[in-house]
């Protein structure tokens, strides 16, 4: 987790990008979701991925983490070609990433603490049970849940708490890469802002690289170093929000300059001037 602070995350040219997607094609029947999609994620950045509904944001994430076999194209994650290797060979890479699914995807028969313990047990059986319990408790606290939540079952948690518990599980292995699928969807503004702060703090403390799918403009303005826009079956632009606006693409204009985009920008400016 050697993260060189001097390397600006906005740097255009990134050394050894942890995720490289090239020429990705995903086809369901006759319908192509992605057609020749290219994307690079730099080390130590939070990359926001936006796009209208049905533009294949989740499919892109599922392809990168190997849940969806693409029709064509190559995906390299942490120097390993995901698209060629089979499941067993991916183990080495899989323990270096954490995934937060939209609904949290917690195992419903286990408590929150046990949920966090699962990846530790699976990948590192040589850790003593005591240390494993301590790590699990620590991760739960780190993700912003109260201590009592450790003993609760997912059905006893609210939507926001489920997401935090999912985040705790995603962080269990101290991953280098974190995938978040709409982490703030369905959270109240206070909870969403707290979650954003949490994500940024985690990135800064742990030197994470974050791949973040979101519709939340506040999240994009607040924490994302760069934003990738998915449209027309491809990534049409990647960059900081001002850079994106310079492209003058109508969809991007509408997305960021709509009433919601403007108010998100205004609130960000207020926060920074304060």
């Amino acid at each position: 987790m050697a993260f060189d602070e001097s390397e600006a995350p906005h740097e255009r040219f990134c050394l050894e990008p942890p995720i490289v997607v090239s020429g990705l094609v995903n086809r369901f029947g006759d319908f192509a979701v992605h057609d020749g999609l290219n994307l690079e994620v730099c080390r130590g950045e939070i990359l926001g991925v936006v796009g209208g509904s049905g533009t294949g944001k989740s499919v892109l994430m599922r392809s990168i983490i190997g849940l969806q076999q693409p029709t064509a194209g190559n995906i390299d994650v942490l120097g390993r070609r995901i698209t060629d290797t089979d499941l067993d060979q991916r183990v080495g890479v899989r323990r270096r990433w954490g995934v937060l699914f939209q609904g949290g995807a917690l195992f419903s028969t286990l408590t929150v603490g046990e949920n966090v313990e699962v990846p530790l047990k699976e990948f590192y059986p040589n850790i003593s049970p005591r240390l494993r319990r301590e790590i699990a408790r620590y991760k739960v606290l780190l993700s912003g849940l109260p201590e009592e939540a450790v003993l609760k079952y997912p059905s006893e948690l609210s939507g926001g708490m489920k997401k935090r518990a999912g985040l705790a599980r995603a962080l269990a292995l101290d991953p280098e890469l974190l995938f978040l699928d709409e982490p703030t969807a369905g959270l109240d503004p206070i909870g969403a802002a707290a979650f954003d702060r949490q994500t940024r703090d985690l990135k800064e403390t742990l030197g994470l690289t974050v791949f973040l799918i979101t519709h939340d403009l506040d999240t994009l303005y607040e924490i994302c170093d760069r934003v990738a826009v998915l449209a027309d079956k491809q990534v049409i632009a990647v960059g900081t929000i001002p850079e994106l606006l310079e492209t003058g693409h109508p969809w991007i204009e509408e997305y960021f300059n709509g009433p919601r985009g403007r108010s998100a920008l205004a609130s960000q400016e207020r926060a920074h001037s304060a």
């Binding site: 270096r96 419903s108 240390l131 790590i135 408790r137 606290l141 003993l151 101290d174």
Partner: protein
């Protein structure tokens, strides 16, 4: 990725020890070190981190815990390490991750008491469910246009038409088994022609309807519970209520009507296919021509046997549908509950069907339809 923790214990002043750590303090490598250092019972005054190449939160936690245990000072921490050590300060310590296990002698009476208490709630639930269905029927009678015809037809197709192949095959095979096994026994008395009576009466009176009910419970009763249960989980049922659509009228009544009605047809169909199965065995193994077998059926089976089957069928259908819908509506919480309720729906439906079948057997004999 697979680095290791290197460490050495050096003597420092006043009989204390200095722990010099090096290598990679990562979740992948820290396991063995943590166990070894745990067994060390001297006093560590200082922990030197200057040789550490890489560290993550797990490594930081182990160091931080060690430092707290021995109240030692940490030296030589890099910027990242200091950051991490600060981050793990909130840590929660060593506690159980699941609620404490209750000992058996407490758990058994506790579970029994809860079961009894739940049974009371269950009774109330069943009664109020039946009441809700009556209310539902009442509202349909008052406003016949609210009758969900399309849903009824759809359910009839799912419960009845799609079940024809499997129930046909099952009944045919049962007909064959009864005829063949019956013939073996009856031959000992030279009475193999009575196989016709055996097959005709047993399929029409008992097995046709009973086996169909069991098949429908497994096929459709479980589906009812799972469908309605999932709809409860996804709040579809609540959405219906808020819009003013009664879930009883829209979901439960179509299933009950379809299942009750289709059971009559399926039960009769099953009996007929069973008889055909018997007739095939008659032709192949007993030398009774196929059509003679069918003609004999008409002569030896009293008409009231058909009625016995046809009276039982809708009752069984009603029970299967009620059990499925009731358990579906009881689902709350998580997906595990859907599985539990589906199982309960099938088990309670089959159990009730068999108990009622025994009751019907005695009843019909008593009223002279023996």
């Amino acid at each position: 990725m697979y680095g290791a923790v290197t460490y050495s214990l050096e003597d420092a002043e006043a009989g204390t020890t200095r722990l010099v750590l090096g290598g990679q303090l990562l979740v992948s490598s820290v396991g063995p070190f943590e166990q070894e250092i745990d067994r060390f019972d001297g006093e560590i005054a200082e922990i030197d981190l200057s040789g550490v190449d890489e560290m993550d939160t797990t490594g930081a936690w182990v160091v931080s815990r060690l430092a707290n245990q021995h109240s030692s000072t940490i030296t030589g921490a890099s910027e990242t390490a200091t950051h991490l050590l600060k981050a793990v300060e909130v840590a929660g310590g060593d506690g159980e991750l699941c609620p404490a296990v209750v000992p058996v002698w407490e758990r058994v009476p506790l579970a029994l008491g809860e079961k009894v208490y739940a049974a009371r709630g269950g009774m109330l639930g069943v009664v109020s469910f039946l009441g809700a269905i009556l209310v539902g029927f009442g509202s349909i009678i008052r406003k016949p246009s609210s009758m969900p015809f399309r849903a009824v037809v759809r359910q009839m197709e799912m419960v009845g038409v799609s079940a024809l192949p499997i129930i046909g095959l099952m009944s045919f095979l049962i007909g064959i088994v009864i005829a063949q096994q019956g013939a073996v026994q009856l031959q000992q008395f030279g009475a193999e022609t009575l196989t016709v009576n055996l097959v005709g009466r047993i399929t029409l009176r008992e097995l046709g309807v009973l086996m169909t009910a069991i098949m429908v419970a497994g096929r459709s009763g479980s589906a009812f519970a799972a469908q309605i249960g999932t709809m409860k989980l996804t709040e579809e049922v609540d959405a219906m209520r808020t819009i003013g659509i009664s879930p009883i009228v829209q979901l439960v009544i179509p299933r009950i009507l379809a299942c009750t009605f289709m059971m009559i047809l399926l039960g009769f169909y099953s009996s007929i296919v069973g008889i055909i199965g018997g007739a095939v065995i008659g032709q192949v193994a007993l030398g009774i021509p196929f059509f003679t077998f069918l003609e004999r059926i008409q002569e030896v089976v009293p008409l009231h046997d058909v009625w016995v089957g046809l009276v039982k069928a809708p009752v069984f259908g009603l029970i299967v549908a009620l059990a499925g819908c009731y358990h579906g509506m009881q689902v709350k919480g998580n997906s595990e509950e859907v599985g539990i309720r589906t199982t309960m729906a099938v088990v309670s439906a089959i159990f009730a069907v068999i108990v009622l079948d025994a009751f019907f057997a005695v009843f019909f004999t008593e009223v002279g339809w023996g």
